[in-house]
Amino acid sequence: MSDAATLDVAIWRGTEDGHFQSFAVPRREHQTVLDVVTEVQRAHDATLSYRFACRVGMCGSCAMVVNGRPRWTCRTRVSEVAVEGRLKLEPLRNLTIVKDLAVEMTDFFDKWRDARGYFEPGATPETYFAVVPPATRERQAADAGIECIGCGVCYSACDVVAWDADYLGPAALNRAWTLVNDVRDRGQAERMQAVATEGGCQACHTHMSCTQFCPKAIAPTYSIAGLKRAVMKRAFGGGA
């Protein structure tokens, strides 16, 4: 039981068969979890590996599991999450651990590509700007999911990703949905096929962990529901 002035921080070290290593870190005012990890690496153990970049909640690089919840460490105040002065830091789930708190993001982005989560201008793109009124249903649907920065928190939180290696995951499918609603895009047929494969949108069971933990307040669950409807319409409504 640590006293109020010191934090008891357990950090995952190594790869899949690693272990927790404990550090005692002084508690400071307005401290974030990222501050704690940085202090450990600089003052206690220079061999600790972790990621961060902007440190102001814009890039998503610092995402990891803090006391069981996937979140951004730069946006997590120690005072908010430390129970009895204890912190437990683990790398994001469902991704191969490179070392300590850093994970291999390749699979995450490969699934993004596999879900056709990229804009397809087509063979003859428009030569001038497309006029897309922001209040249209499609644009509002796209806007609801467009702020995703690919941090991997939702992917880490998703149980279906853990259970089904084929599942494309909430981020990839959410991005696909924003593109389904992009009236300029010419790759809808391929995208619809991509999200209807065995690991596609229908594998989502509406657990809503993604929506619960997304630091940008995006709701991939509803984007995926939109994809389900779109896939059904295409398969049985014949069209678009």
Partner: protein, 108 residues
Amino acid sequence: MSALLFAAQRVSAIVLAFAVAVHLGTILYASHTGLTAGAILARTHGNVAFALFYGLFVVAVAVHAPIGLRNVLREWTPWRGRTLDLALLFFSALLLVLGFRAVIAVYA
């Protein structure tokens, strides 16, 4: 294939929502009024509406349950692929056969 299974699962779910509501209501009514097997069978014998309703119920269940189990098995066990699909097809056939046998038993 997945889109087809998903659609079948959801459509059968909607059919079952109605069928289950009717079935639950019927069962609760029967148990409330204390009907015996003989009394129930007297009402169902030769009742075409009953046979059609429960026949549809059996088909919907034979579609819905195996697809649901397929998800569970694929996600919670290492079993997947052709053998899983065949096993579930067999389960579906089993439900159809036993189900229609029960409907006939109670109707005929």
